[in-house]
Each structure stands twice: as structure tokens, then as C-alpha cells.
């Protein structure tokens, strides 16, 4: 579905990502992991065409950089970690913007659009918030509203940039369960940037481990997130620490 070839991103003299290649296939959930500054977000930003890069990104065989913004949006959806809200748009208004790429002219708002919007609101459990101002939502509700937006957008590939970074455990679980269900249907795939390695392990089918802008390892989650690999990248015994943390619970 997605093929990234020799992707390099430079910010001035700083090389944030260097010569990165990987691919994502249907039904895969690729977890992009690595320590702070390893280039995780940079890579997903490049794929969603938010930062300039060299190298190629192909989506179903087409070079993504040649796509119109609306075509890109129909194929690739993005859920960011932060939303800075200034105005009290209703949840419905936010979600309906997910259908922007499908609108033809100024007058179109077909039945298909309202169905998708209703469905997205229903799946995310935001139906009762439909008319509520997004200024009044909690962090988890807000993230669900934007998740509903990206569901309404109906992309084939969903990119998540630390979607649950500031959320309580309950909401983290909600969001990840929702995405896990979403990926089951049709020709879909997910790439997400995560900090939490246990979440990566639990939900990811594949992983891409980065360090200082280069790929350390990629492949199936179990093959990538090995004790040795993590030890090299994080310079500590991640496995041992995780296990000792969990051991506290076994009273």
C-alpha cells in the first residue's frame, strides 16, 4: 500500500531523517518507535506532505508528492496529538470537515456525506456530543471528535502522531480499541508514532525502530522490539525495567 524509499529530511544543517526505506501493506499496523529526537514524527510528517523531503513516497504505486491535497486526503488521514482550539465549533462541524475532500463546489453535502458523518459519530461514541462546542470537551472527548473526523474522511491509510500522549489510561484504551476495530474493515492500514513500547507491542503488527534519524530495525513487532535492539537504542535494559515495573502488581 505505502512504500517509502530513501526518505531524507533536513532542517537546515540538521538531518532529522536519513535514507529511510520501508513499506506498509494492507491490514498492517506499523508502530514507529524510538527515543526522543529519533525522527519518528518527522517521518510521518513527510509522508503526509507536511515537511519537505527528498526520496520518494509511493501510495499504491503513485508518487504522493504529485497528488492534489484533496486526493491525498482521500487516501491518507492524519490524527495529531495536539489540537489548539480557538473557536467553539460544534463536534458535528468538526467531523463534517472530514468530508471536505469529497465536496464538489460549495453546495455539495450529499446523503453519503451525512451517512459517513453519522457513522463516524456513532463509532466513536460522540453522537450525544453532536451539537456540543469543542471548547467544552475534555481531552479524551476532543481526541475522539477528531478521530471521528478522520473516520469520516475515510482514508485507506491512517497516520497517528502520538494520538494518546496526554490522555488518561481509559481514553488511551478507547482510542486504540477504536483504531483496532477500524483497521479490520476493508483495505486499510495504520502507521502510528508511539512512546509507550507496551502499547506498540500490544497493538502493532509491525514496527520501525529508529535512532538518530536512521532505521535500526524493521519488520514484525516481535522481531523488532527485542531486548537487544531496545538496549542498543535506549542505552538501558528496557525489558528488565518493564518487567520489574509489572512485577509490582503481582501481590
Amino acid at each position: 500500500m505505502l512504500e517509502v524509499k530513501n526518505l531524507t529530511v533536513k532542517f537546515g544543517n540538521l538531518t532529522a531523517a536519513k535514507d529511510i526505506s520501508f513499506s506498509v501493506k494492507e491490514k498492517q499496523w506499523l508502530m514507529v518507535v524510538g527515543p526522543n529526537g529519533s525522527g519518528k514524527s518527522t517521518i510521518v510528517n513527510a509522508i503526509s506532505q507536511c515537511v519537505p523531503y527528498s526520496g520518494k513516497v509511493y501510495f499504491e504505486g503513485t508518487d504522493v508528492s504529485g497528488l492534489k491535497p484533496s486526493q491525498l486526503a482521500k487516501n491518507i488521514g492524519v490524527l495529531s496529538q495536539n489540537h489548539f482550539i480557538s473557536y467553539g465549533f460544534s463536534v458535528e462541524e468538526v467531523v463534517s470537515l472530514g468530508r471536505y475532500a469529497y465536496s464538489r463546489g460549495i453546495f455539495s453535502s450529499g446523503n453519503e456525506d451525512s451517512e459517513k458523518i453519522d457513522m463516524a459519530l456513532k463509532i466513536t461514541g460522540m453522537e450525544s456530543f453532536r451539537r456540543q462546542s469543542i471548547l467544552t470537551l475534555s481531552g479524551g472527548e476532543l481526541q475522539r471528535a477528531f478521530l471521528a473526523q478522520v473516520f469520516a474522511q475515510d482514508p485507506k491509510l491512517l497516520i497517528l502522531d502520538e494520538p494518546t500522549n496526554h490522555l488518561d489510561l481509559v481514553y488511551q484504551k478507547q482510542i486504540f480499541e477504536l483504531i483496532a476495530n477500524w483497521i479490520k474493515e476493508g483495505n486499510r492500514a495504520v502507521i502510528s508514532v508511539v512512546h509507550d513500547l507496551s502499547l506498540a507491542m500490544a497493538y502493532g503488527t509491525h514496527a520501525l525502530l529508529l535512532d538518530k534519524g536512521t532505521v535500526v530495525s524493521s519488520g514484525k513487532t516481535n522481531d523488532v522490539l527485542t531486548a537487544e535492539n531496545l538496549k542498543t537504542v535506549y542505552a538501558m535494559d528496557v525489558y528488565g525495567w518493564m518487567q520489574s515495573l509489572l512485577a509490582q502488581w503481582k501481590l
Binding site: P52, V78, F89, E93, Q149
Partner: protein, 344 residues
């Protein structure tokens, strides 16, 4: 059911348009010189239907003083308010305005240069000022954007507003410089900077109307994109908005409208800031409704402000900017207080 709230309803349009017309009629009927209502209507009725108009002062005052002025004022108010609304959506900043971007100052600089160097278009005394003001607003925009692009290729809100402030200061210093070397022409420049819609002609009305039809329409058809920007620029990009193209179109339209308004009436503050703010409290943040509400609201507000300027100290006249700044700043503080209180 789900869609009914998005667009402004026909009845709402009707209410707004009727209010605009009601205020317009009131502003034509009231003025420094009192003319009986019946006479006012006779003059207007007869001129519309080509009937002979009774000769006299009231004819001159209504047809050539009040009507063109009220129309110019309404169009200026509508344009400035629409610009403010578009900038606030585009930059996701409720304090943004045509002036925040530096476009107003750029337009002022153009107008001052036109006055100082006597640039005029034969047959249209203010044409030179208007053309140079619009051009200067465009050039300011290109200047601000090219510098901003170098600093920050994503044209983020903070960079633009910061550049706008710096540019405004820069332009003000150049205006002072032009004024200083203008010699005897300092007088018209000082009068101009005080801003006046007095002496508006039908030519002004046509120029303002044309710019509002062309550039106002560009803004109005981008209401969905402005919604996306108002939620967040990144979000707009993610849902498929052509961010750079839309941003460019909106900024160009805003600078053209501001240039036209500034050259006709001088720098009139607060309209673009307060009216969209009030409109947002009434119709909500959705630009499909908000842009229209700001358009109508701006026209009504500025007509009333001008009526006050014309009549409060009759036979004297106040500069309209004094009235808008007074009403505007009081209203603004009130709104600010209410929103602060509400958020606690």
C-alpha cells in the same frame, strides 16, 4: 436534520438584509440638516422612477451628500468586517484583523505617498490614491509573505502576526518620514490620516462595490476552507485543503478590500475586530453563517457610527474613526470581560 444548522437560512438572510435597509433608510433620513421625511421620500422616489425632482437644497443633500455617503459607509463597514472575519478564521486568532497583518498600514503608506507626490487619475480625483493604496497593500503583503517564508516556510500564525506588527511599525516610520519631507503637503496628509468618509461620491460607491463583489465573493466561497483553518491549519491540510493556495487567495482578497477602503475613508479601526466577534457570539463560529453575519453587521455598525459622527455635535462633524474607536473599544472590553467570565 443533521445539516440544517450549517448554512445561513433564507429567513436569516432576509432579517439581516431588512435590518441593513432599515438602518440605511434611517441614516439617509437623519442628518445634520433636518429634512422632512415626506420630502426625503419624494426626492428618492422621484429619482428612482425618473420623475422630475423638486429643485432645492434638500435634493442636493439627499442625493449627492447623504446617499453616496451612507452607501460608501455601508460598503466600507461590510468590507472591513468581512476582512477581519476572514483573517480571524485564517489565522485562527480572534484578535487578527486586516491591520494585524500590516495590510492597512501598507495601504495607508500608499495613500500618503499618492498624496505627497500628487499621484492622480484624471477625471477621478481619488482614483490615484485608491490605485496606489491597493497596490501598496499588495506589495506589503508580498513583502511580508516573502520575508515570512524565509523565516518559516509553513507561514505559521505567530510568524505572520509578528511580521505584521513589525511591518506596521516599519511602515509608520516611513509614513512619518514621507510626512516630514512632504513640506507644504503635510497638511493634506495630516487631514487624510484622520480619516474621513465625508464627501463620498458615487464613484467611491462604485469602486467599493466592485471590490466587494469581486474580492468579497472570493472570501465567501471559501467558507468551508476558513472553517478548516479556524479549527487548525494542520487540520485543514489533513482534511485536504490546498492550504497555500487558499491562504494566498484570502490574503490577496483581504489586501485588495482593505486597500480600497483605506483609500476612500482612511484608516478606520475596530470594525474588523469587533463586528466578527459580536457576530460569532450570535451565529457561532461556522463561516458559512459567520461571514454573512459579519458582512451585514459591519455595514450596520459603520452606518450607525457615521450617523453619530454626523449628528452628535452638529453643525460640526466628528472623524468617524473617533466614533468607531470609542464604541469599538468599549464593546471590545465588554466582550472580552464576558468571555473571560464565561471561561472561568
Amino acid at each position: 436534520m443533521g445539516k440544517t444548522t450549517e448554512n445561513i437560512k433564507f429567513t436569516e438572510h432576509l432579517i439581516f438584509i431588512l435590518s441593513v435597509i432599515a438602518v440605511m433608510v434611517m441614516c439617509v433620513c437623519l442628518g445634520s440638516v433636518s429634512i422632512p421625511l415626506a420630502e426625503t421620500f419624494t426626492v428618492i422616489w422621484n429619482s428612482i422612477f425618473g420623475l422630475p425632482i423638486p429643485e432645492g437644497m434638500s435634493q442636493s443633500i439627499i442625493l449627492f451628500v447623504r446617499l453616496p455617503r451612507v452607501l460608501s459607509v455601508a460598503l466600507t463597514g461590510a468590507s472591513l468586517s468581512l476582512c477581519g472575519c476572514a483573517m480571524q478564521g485564517l489565522l485562527r486568532n480572534p484578535l487578527a484583523d486586516g491591520s494585524t497583518l500590516g495590510v492597512s498600514s501598507g495601504a495607508s503608506l500608499g495613500a500618503v505617498i499618492a498624496i505627497a507626490f500628487g499621484i492622480t487619475i484624471p477625471g477621478f480625483s481619488q482614483g490615484g490614491t485608491m490605485a496606489v493604496a491597493m497596490l501598496s497593500a499588495f506589495l506589503s503583503l508580498i513583502f511580508i509573505l516573502s520575508v515570512t517564508y524565509r523565516l518559516d516556510s509553513s507561514l505559521s500564525t505567530n510568524t505572520i502576526i509578528l511580521m505584521g506588527i513589525i511591518f506596521t511599525m516599519f511602515v509608520n516610520s516611513i509614513i512619518s518620514l514621507v510626512t516630514a519631507i512632504a513640506g507644504e503637503k503635510i497638511k493634506p496628509i495630516v487631514f487624510w490620516t484622520m480619516g474621513s468618509l465625508a464627501g463620498s461620491t458615487y464613484l467611491n460607491v462604485i469602486a467599493l462595490l466592485a471590490s466587494l463583489i469581486v474580492f468579497g465573493t472570493i472570501i465567501l466561497i471559501h467558507s468551508r476552507e476558513l472553517n478548516a483553518f479556524a479549527i487548525g491549519e494542520d487540520n485543514a491540510r489533513h482534511v485536504g485543503v490546498n492550504v497555500k493556495k487558499v491562504k494566498m487567495l484570502i490574503l490577496i482578497s483581504v489586501s485588495a478590500l482593505v486597500g480600497a477602503c483605506v483609500s476612500v475613508g482612511g484608516n478606520i479601526g475596530f470594525v474588523g475586530l469587533v463586528i466578527p466577534h459580536m457576530a460569532r457570539m450570535i451565529v457561532g463560529p461556522n463561516h458559512k453563517r459567520l461571514l454573512f453575519a459579519s458582512l451585514y453587521g459591519g455595514a450596520i455598525f459603520l452606518m450607525l457610527a457615521d450617523l453619530a459622527a454626523r449628528t452628535i455635535v452638529s453643525p460640526l462633524e466628528l472623524p468617524i474613526g473617533v466614533v468607531t474607536s470609542f464604541i469599538g473599544s468599549v464593546t471590545f472590553v465588554y466582550i472580552f470581560y464576558l468571555t473571560r467570565k464565561a471561561s472561568k
